[in-house]
């Protein structure tokens, strides 16, 4: 489980060249009340970045700001910059729908489209984007389902409804669905929260494999999970005024073994939260 070698080479903070997603002084507000304040860190290419912290620290809010899903909540605004390969997500002329296809998302509960087959779910994003080439779609389904470690168990029943899969399989189908459009970044919001330990382990293993194809940001309540799967780690905490703050961002190894802030240590040792 020691990936220290890779972590030692990581350059952190502003100006690192391999940042896919950069957060600069990001605050997310709901009706002018901040939910997360002044978060600055870089999400590095082909690494897993975890967001950890107790409930209410703004992990999910921050994650949803990264593909502008939080805008579905009325009254939500973002200040600061979120840069996707240098392009400010909030000030770009690129349409939001195009942006979102570059930043995939996997949710807490598996949410395959219930009326679609396994195959149709896997290629749903591509079809909506306008890909019609049957061979390309089939190849994509094969690739995405393989990446999601689901191909072998579903290859003989691709036309079966997605609802016939188990919870863990459904979640992997959702990962395949997100991967099929070849996003640069994959956001995962507590992807194992509703799964049993076996399915959780499979998803975790999947995450460590997937990072060679895609940059991953994962929100988790489970500190061991963050420790197991992530290369870098952001620790958030709710301040006195109930606003989430980024306490510390570093390599996962530093966060768990040698944190700069005593609150990080208290949290990772399980003294609170």
């Amino acid at each position: 489980m020691d990936t220290a070698e890779t972590r030692d080479n990581v350059t952190l903070g502003e100006g690192s060249s391999d940042a896919v997603l950069s957060l600069r002084d990001v605050s997310v507000l709901f009706n002018n009340k901040a939910a997360v304040r002044n978060a600055t860190f870089d999400v590095q290419a082909n690494k897993v970045t975890s967001l950890i912290g107790p409930s209410g620290s703004g992990k999910t809010t921050l994650l949803r700001a990264m593909n502008r899903l939080h805008e579905l909540t009325p009254g939500a605004t973002v200040t600061g910059q979120i840069l996707l390969e240098g392009e400010d997500l909030y000030r770009t002329s690129v349409p939001i729908t195009v942006l979102r296809s570059r930043i995939g998302m996997v949710f807490q509960r598996p949410n395959p489209f219930p009326t679609m087959s396994i195959y149709d779910n896997a290629v749903a994003g591509l079809r909506f984007i306008g890909v019609k080439d049957k061979d390309f779609l089939e190849e994509s389904a094969h690739k995405a389902l393989s990446e999601a470690a689901l191909w072998d168990s579903v290859k003989d029943r691709l036309k079966a409804p997605a609802a016939t899969l188990s919870g863990g399989e459904q979640q992997r189908l959702c990962i395949a669905r997100a991967m099929a459009v070849e996003p640069e970044v994959l956001l995962m919001d507590e992807p194992t929260a509703s799964l049993d330990p076996v399915a959780t382990k499979q998803i975790e293993e999947l995450v460590t494999v997937l990072k060679q194809f895609v940059t991953i940001v994962i929100v988790t309540h489970n500190m061991q999970q963050a420790n197991r799967v992530s290369d870098n780690c952001a620790f958030l905490l709710m301040a006195e005024d109930r606003t989430g703050e980024l306490i510390e961002f570093d390599t996962t190894e530093k966060i768990f073994n040698d944190p700069k802030d005593s609150r990080t240590l208290d949290y990772t040792l399980g003294r609170f939260g």
Partner: protein, 296 residues
């Protein structure tokens, strides 16, 4: 195809199709706006006519004095609608008092009993909702007026119940069924009797939606003419006696529309405006009420 090539292909396809998608999005937005206008124009025109013609009738005198028959010497002397307001209040209040508890009890029973019987009752009620209201008028007339040879305000209330109870029951049942099973299970697991669970957990959780249905049904009933026309008789005196005869706003309007004097037909605008404002008032009231209930 390498991963990078695939990504390129997908991005190009997406960019190409985006223009088409954006265009069709604009086309459909435009179609929606047109549809909205088509729906809105008649509505606005009705509103403009009713308010435009009716507003001059909204005086204290018109609202409080009883109707009068115009005479040859004073063809404009139609009096007011005080008697009809009183009649409306009596007929509708009694109807509401009967139908709310009946509908809620029915909905609770249908929720608890389940099974084929409930499906039958439900289907019957849905059919009732679709029936022209004059059917209930004729039914009430034949079964009550013809047998008793009398007109009573409360006969009208009973006729309105036929309209309101199915709407309220179907709505209340849907409201009860929308309460999450986990809440019900939590109640049962505390050792509560099913009746307690119903009264203290399911019903309170569903109350906002139940009341939406109640107001919806009431709004529908308040403007009904046909079911009550044959059974409540008519009264030119403002009275609140349920066993007396009564005139309501819709029945007054009906009799004015077929009346002999232009002044009577003209006054229908005023009555229509009062009816409209009444319905609007109760709709706004229900919105506020529902918003309050949901907040607490």
């Amino acid at each position: 195809m390498s991963s990078q090539e695939r990504r390129e292909f997908i991005r190009t396809t997406s960019a190409k199709s985006y223009r088409r998608r954006a265009l069709s999005s604009r086309v459909f937005t435009a179609l929606l706006v047109i549809a909205l206008l088509i729906a809105f124009v008649p509505l606005a025109s009705i509103l403009q006519n009713v308010v435009g013609h009716g507003i001059r009738y909204i005086t204290w005198h018109f609202l409080t004095t009883s109707q009068q028959l115009p005479s040859i010497t004073n063809t404009n002397g139609i009096g007011g609608i005080g008697n009809a307001l009183a009649g409306t209040a009596v007929v509708d209040l009694i109807a509401v008092l009967i139908s709310i508890p009946t509908a809620i009890v029915l909905a609770m029973a249908m929720f608890e009993i389940k099974g084929r019987w409930v499906v039958a009752v439900r289907t019957a009620m849905e059919t009732f909702i679709g029936l022209p209201s004059i059917v209930f008028g004729v039914f009430t007339y034949v079964s009550l007026v013809v047998t008793t040879h009398q007109y009573h305000a409360y006969f009208g209330s009973l006729a309105l119940c036929f309209i309101m109870i199915p709407v309220m029951t179907i709505n209340a049942l849907a409201a009860l069924q929308s309460v999450p099973d986990t809440l019900i299970e939590a109640g049962l697991s505390l050792g509560l009797r099913p009746s307690r669970v119903m009264l203290h957990i399911i019903l309170p959780a569903a109350r906002a939606r139940v009341f939406t249905g109640v107001f919806l049904a009431f709004s529908r009933a308040v403007g009904e003419t046909a079911p009550i026309l044959f059974v409540i008789g008519a009264s030119t005196l403002p009275g609140f006696n349920p066993s007396g005869q009564a005139t309501t706003l819709p029945t007054l309007m009906w009799s004015y529309l077929i009346g002999a004097y232009p002044s009577q037909r003209e006054a229908c605008w005023g009555i229509a405006l009062v009816l409209m404002v009444t319905v609007l008032f109760f709709n706004v009231l229900s919105r506020i009420f529902v918003a309050r209930t949901q907040r607490s």
